[in-house]
């Protein structure tokens, strides 16, 4: 038993390294109270070291600790996305004026950030519903605390309260779903549930409806984490109220963890191994309604509600929140396809989404730090005051809307290709229409920056070399992946193997 655990622990090294980082950050914060750079330095080093340890896991496909966690190409890919986003956010945070107001100590902030990353990495690998629940709670609890971290600002603690209420409610619903699944199948292990689900389905009758309720309640938990409509009510308030670094982190890393968990859950639990439903890929929930159809409904709702509400927003942070809800909808289109092509398209989209979304949030943060406003009307004349930043923000927004020659176009292209190859034509049409709506509100921001002049003739904004480098580091991939995307596509296609899924 003990030697078995040691062998498993060797495959768990990245998570162990990250746990050590959390502890080191908490202790270092107590010792080096006055030196600002120590804790972020430790966390940054820990995240990078964890990244290298994750890279070392490439090629393995096993489940460790009694099948609690799977270590496979799919998990490795998502862990790298989460770690990359976390590294970028740590660098953002170090330069953020918002976080430093009032001489606030930030030691615990970085420790909590690392804990949230640990939760999300566990989400990417969780292969058991209990582990999924715990990983989700670890990342959620850290996120509640982080979004309320600037607690003197009323909107920050309000956002945090809304987040914790919605979060606890949806995790309660999810738990009820998990308990019914357990009652029907006698196990929480995804692969075991997959073996017993066909028995429940073929028996038919009332337990089938039990399964339907359980599935929908469990999806509510995932839907909350990826902020899909109708489980999105927390997202706009939290995104607007939280410190912008945390908003960026939640919009990218948290979503990545949620999507990894959702895909694994659908792919392993509801995959039809007998091939009866080969065309669908998943079982029918009830006659005529497949599990993937439910995902498609969520996708359409998220895209449409996200985009239509974004049009009316005047705060750019809030606009980006609705845009991120819409992006969850786009990526759910790929999940609805659920074959290798669809999942690879989602994974590709995530890397692109990471660069363009973090870039947009960083530009908004830099502008807010200088002008003190996130209002779109205050972006008038920015094209002449800060040409570099304005052009960069414009490119990020164009990429988010999915126009060529940016990376966002390539991401959408692969998503739509997967949809059309699988015959989801109506969903592809809804997605395309939504992209057109999205174009409207992104262009509104760009028009304000370049075509409207500022009446007050404010002074130009200057950027430090460090900030310039950071913008470039996000801008170059956003443009580069729009033209040279071959290797990235190959990487995504090579990483779709999920442990336990056929």
């Amino acid at each position: 038993m003990a030697s078995h655990m040691l062998k498993d622990a060797a495959l768990f090294l990245p998570e162990i390294a990250l746990t050590v980082t959390i502890l080191a950050a908490i202790v270092a914060d107590l010792i080096f109270r006055r030196v600002r750079a120590v804790v972020p330095g430790i966390v940054l080093a820990g995240l990078i070291a964890t990244g290298f340890l994750v890279l070392g896991q490439q090629g393995s496909s096993v489940a460790i600790f009694s099948s609690m966690i799977a270590v496979d190409a799919f998990a490795v890919y998502f862990k790298l996305v989460i770690l990359l986003a976390a590294v970028v956010v740590v660098v953002f945070s170090f330069g953020s004026a918002e976080l430093q107001t009032g001489g606030r100590k930030l030691g615990e902030y970085y420790a909590l950030l690392a804990a949230a990353v640990l939760g999300m990495m566990l989400m990417a690998g969780a292969n058991n519903l209990l582990m999924m629940y715990l990983a989700l709670e670890l990342s959620s609890i850290s996120s509640y605390l982080l979004s309320g971290y600037t607690r003197e600002a009323a909107d920050s603690s309000e956002a945090s309260l809304k987040y914790v209420i919605y979060g606890a409610l949806s995790s309660g619903l999810m738990l009820y779903g998990i308990s019914i699944l357990y009652g029907l199948t006698g196990s929480l292990d995804l692969a075991t549930i997959n073996h017993i689900v066909p028995v429940v389905i073929s028996a038919g009758g009332p337990p089938l409806y039990g399964l339907l309720i359980a599935g929908i309640l469990t999806l509510a938990g995932f839907g909350y984490k990826i902020s899909a409509v109708p489980f999105h009510f927390w997202a706009p308030d939290v995104y607007e109220g939280a410190p912008i670094t945390i908003t960026a982190f939640l919009a990218v890393a948290s979503k990545a963890g949620g999507f990894a968990m959702l895909i694994r859950f659908l792919k392993v639990t509801f995959f039809d191994a007998t091939g009866v439903m080969a065309a669908a890929g998943t079982w029918e929930a009830v006659r005529g309604l497949r599990w993937v159809d439910l995902v498609a409904i969520l996708s359409v709702l998220s895209m449409t509600v996200g985009n239509l509400t974004a049009i009316w927003q005047n705060n750019l942070k809030r606009l980006l929140a609705y845009s991120s809800i819409a992006h969850a909808g786009y990526m759910l289109m790929g999940v609805a396809v659920l074959n290798d092509e669809g999942i690879a398209a989602v994974m590709l989209y995530f890397v692109i989404y990471l660069f363009m979304n973090l870039g947009a949030f960083y530009a908004v943060m830099l502008i807010a730090d200088k002008t003190g406003s996130e209002d779109i009307d205050d972006y008038k004349g920015l094209g002449s005051r800060a040409p570099f930043l304005a052009v960069a923000l414009a490119i990020f927004l164009i990429s988010l809307s999915g126009l060529p020659p940016t990376a966002g176009f390539i991401g959408k292209l692969y998503l739509f290709a997967a949809l059309i190859n699988k015959g989801w034509i109506w969903l592809a049409i809804v997605g395309a229409l939504n992209s057109v709506i999205a174009l409207y509100y992104y262009v509104r921001v760009i028009r304000n920056m370049f075509l409207r002049t500022d009446e007050q003739q404010s002074a130009p904004l200057s950027l430090s070399g460090m900030q310039m480098t950071m913008v470039l580091a996000l801008l170059v991939p956003t443009l580069l992946f729009g033209l040279y995307f071959g290797p990235l596509v190959q990487l995504a296609q090579a990483s779709v193997r999920i442990f336990g899924a056929p």
Partner: protein, 101 residues
């Protein structure tokens, strides 16, 4: 007579429904937290009942973890309520609406 599984499940469902109604209708943030705890408790009851009737321990172990998470969530939630109360002396979720649609 011995109590069958369905009685426990039904009791769990009733308590869960009461918890949901409370969460949706009450306006005091602290009472909302209590209603969420009630929901988690009803889940615990069904998990233990399933576990005992299946003769398999996973359900009971899950309850152990749910309790730990509930304690953590309560501590964090109440800390947030206190932080909020310092800015604005209210716990009424209707008054917490700087952030609207």
């Amino acid at each position: 007579m011995e109590i069958p599984l369905s009685y426990y499940l039904l009791l769990g469902a009733i308590l869960f429904a009461i918890g949901v109604v409370g969460t949706l209708t009450r306006r005091n943030a602290i009472v909302i937290f209590m209603c969420i705890e009630l929901m988690l408790n009803s889940v615990n009851l069904s998990l233990i009942a399933f576990s005992a009737f299946l003769g398999e321990i996973t359900g009971m172990v899950t309850v152990f973890f749910v309790m730990a998470v509930a304690a953590a969530e309560a501590a964090v939630g109440l800390a947030i309520v206190i932080a909020l109360y310092r800015n604005k002396p209210t716990v009424n979720v209707d008054e917490i609406n700087i952030l609207k649609w």
